[in-house]
């Protein structure tokens, strides 16, 4: 911890920010040192830690100071950590929080996660050594690694050996996992081939395959995650699963739809349903495929796709064209409205408010004024006053 210097935390001219992460605690070796809750920043030149509660309290260390890094997995009650092994501090170092330390390494504890990406980026920066190509201001220490490398503390050799062993073991585990994965994929590939040949048979003999067989086939494809080779669409309509799902949705969504004026975007539905489920969530495709069946199953909801591509679920009793009439009234009362303003007035999401105004425009009731200030809608006086 004695390698750190006090810093303003502002980046130098040639220095670029690579990644930052909140909620990081710094340990001096194994000990906590009251650098508990900070934002850790990685730049092309340095590691900077800034206290979240007191922004003035900021320390930094040049990347050239780093010998190597290792990951420490999270455990029960313990956050994932990165262990950073350091060269000894140079004698002309600027003042920092510690004059001396008995450890030649620090630990960074990621209490709010983000360790995966941070480790990846830090590894990259240490490998690329971009700070050597972009010398920043003189206030930074420039530690010439080859020289420092010769003066190795004894402890580091032992650590490197342990690291090598751990790498070998991890490699072994990974290669076993990959082997098993490859074998599994080979079998999966056979399934894909088989499904292709069955699909071809179906195509050849349209009339001779029963409805039931087609449904069975589609459900096999669903289980394996294979797209329907014939229609190329993801085995959408026609599986029992999606039919059941459609009926379930009709039940679940009745009340929420009524509460939201009879219409909801499909994305809203996705979030609502999955938040309620907690487990065994629906994939976006499951939802779309189920909704495509709503109308054919004569359920009280339907899927509607606007020109813009936005997809919504409406109550059958909902009539968007009627809503347009009341939208026109609202706009006329106010003279003109943007989608944001309309959304606020009516209590709708901006996305759906915009769609309604666009529909009104399409039907000729509203005119647009498209400027840098935004898209504003006016009653179409050409229609009413001509």
């Amino acid at each position: 911890m004695d390698r750190f210097v006090w810093s303003s935390g502002l980046l130098e001219l040639e220095e670029t920010l690579v990644i930052q992460q909140r909620g990081v605690r710094v340990y001096d070796g194994e000990e906590k040192v009251r650098f508990d809750s900070g934002v850790l920043l990685l730049s092309t030149h340095r590691l900077i830690w800034r206290d979240q509660k007191n922004h003035e309290r900021c320390i930094a260390i040049p990347l050239s100071q780093i010998v190597f890094i290792e990951e420490q997995a999270a455990g029960i009650g313990k956050s994932a950590k990165i262990v950073v092994h350091l060269h000894p501090a140079s004698s002309n170092k600027e003042p920092g929080p510690f004059q001396s330390s008995k450890y030649s390494y620090i630990k960074l504890s990621f209490k709010e996660h983000g360790q995966i990406e941070f480790y990846r980026r830090l590894s990259e920066e240490i490998t690329q050594r971009r700070w050597e190509n972009m010398p920043a201001a003189q206030t930074m220490q420039v530690n010439k690694s080859p020289q420092a490398g010769r003066i190795r503390a004894v402890g580091i050799v032992g650590i490197e050996r342990k690291l090598e062993e751990k790498r070998k073991e991890t490699d072994k585990n990974i290669s076993e996992a990959f082997e098993d994965l490859s074998k599994l994929m080979d079998k999966a590939k056979e399934m894909v081939e088989l499904s292709k040949s069955i699909a071809n048979k179906i195509k050849e003999k349209q009339g001779d395959i029963t409805e039931d067989e087609t449904v069975r086939f589609k459900s096999y494809l669903l289980s394996m995650g294979i797209a329907n080779p014939v229609t190329r669409e993801t085995y959408g309509s026609g599986t029992h699963y999606h039919m059941q799902l459609a009926k379930q949705l009709a039940g679940i969504l009745q009340t929420p739809l009524e509460e939201r004026g009879g219409i909801m975007s499909l994305t809203e539905v996705y979030c609502l349903v999955n938040r309620a489920r907690g487990l065994e969530l629906l994939s976006p495709e499951d939802l779309v495929n189920a909704c495509k069946m709503l109308e054919s199953l004569k359920l009280p909801l339907r899927l509607r796709i606007f020109d813009s591509g936005v997809m919504v679920i409406e109550l059958q009793s909902h009539n968007e064209e009627e809503m347009v009439a009341s939208a026109l009234e609202t706009v006329s009362e106010k003279g003109s409205l943007t989608a944001d303003e309309f959304a606020k007035l009516v209590g709708m999401s901006v996305l759906l408010a915009k769609e309604r105004l666009l529909l009104a425009e399409k039907m000729g009731h509203l005119c647009r004024d498209d400027s840098v200030e935004g898209l504003r809608f006016y009653p179409n006086l050409f229609m009413t006053q001509s």
Partner: protein, 258 residues
């Protein structure tokens, strides 16, 4: 019966042969379906075995997840297509990505007023991690990208735009064509761009540059700074946090811009 050559008899024979072939054809399809059903059961067992040994690996190791996804894609299998698929049920990959999808949607919605529906992958990653809380599992940027690719199918305008080594994530159904994308990429270096920069870098006419910038302004993805020395600067709020080592909260951002 005397020998028949080409003629009615030969045709009749041919028809009979065809009919028999067709019959066999139907039987073949039924056979193949039965075979597929059996193989499916076997595959399920294999997958269960794989899951019992390596489910944790997939959960904890983001590189392994990437390998897994890539291999699936190579053979033509989408493990995330359905929550009802074997992969999802047995490896638990489904819930992981579908829940992530929900979290991504919520973050983008919350920040839309600030950045017009454009956000860097980095910032999205940060915000999602914040929302997930301490006890949830860590996620990588690759995980986010896969979840976003799945979200697209809901017709919400989600898009992934490559800029300078990273990505901008679009979360509103605004049209962003090649021209817009190139200007975004140009702006990524400094967080802003001017008309003259576009003209000199891309060799465009003034009008084309202005049209693109106006579109970004209208969508709320760019903010105009007319007080800059020289050309007016078009800033992208999506890129703000990239530029500063200090975290800017939404409140601070609102105060900073008049």
């Amino acid at each position: 019966m005397h020998r028949r050559g080409v003629g009615a008899g030969a045709i009749a024979k041919k028809k009979l042969a065809e009919a028999k072939y067709k019959e066999r054809g139907t039987v073949l399809a039924e056979d193949q379906l039965a075979q597929m059903s059996k193989q499916l059961d076997m595959f399920k067992t294999n997958l269960e075995e794989f899951a019992s040994k390596h489910k944790q690996e997939i959960r904890k190791n983001p590189q392994f997840r990437v390998q897994f996804q890539d291999m699936c894609a190579t053979i033509g299998v989408d493990p995330l297509a359905s929550g009802k698929g074997f992969w999802s049920e047995m490896l638990g990959v489904g819930d992981f990505y579908y829940e992530l999808g929900v979290q991504i949607v919520e973050v983008c919605l919350a920040l839309k007023h600030r950045n017009g529906g454009l956000i860097t992958l980095e910032e999205l990653h940060q915000q999602v991690l914040k929302g997930r809380g301490k006890f949830a599992q860590d996620v990588s940027q690759d995980d986010l990208l896969r979840a976003i690719k799945k979200l697209k199918v809901l017709g919400n305008g989600f898009g992934i735009i490559p800029v300078g080594g990273t990505y901008l994530i679009q979360s509103v159904p605004a049209e962003l064509n090649m021209d817009h994308t190139i200007v975004l990429q140009l702006a990524e270096k400094k967080g802003y761009v001017t008309v003259s920069e576009i003209k000199s870098s891309l060799k465009w006419e003034t009008e084309r540059a202005q049209q693109v910038l106006e579109h970004l302004l209208k969508e709320g993805m760019a903010w105009l700074d007319t007080q800059a020395a020289g050309d007016p600067q078009y800033w992208l709020p999506a890129l703000f946090t990239e530029l500063y080592s200090q975290e800017i909260t939404p409140e601070e951002a609102k105060e900073a811009i008049p």
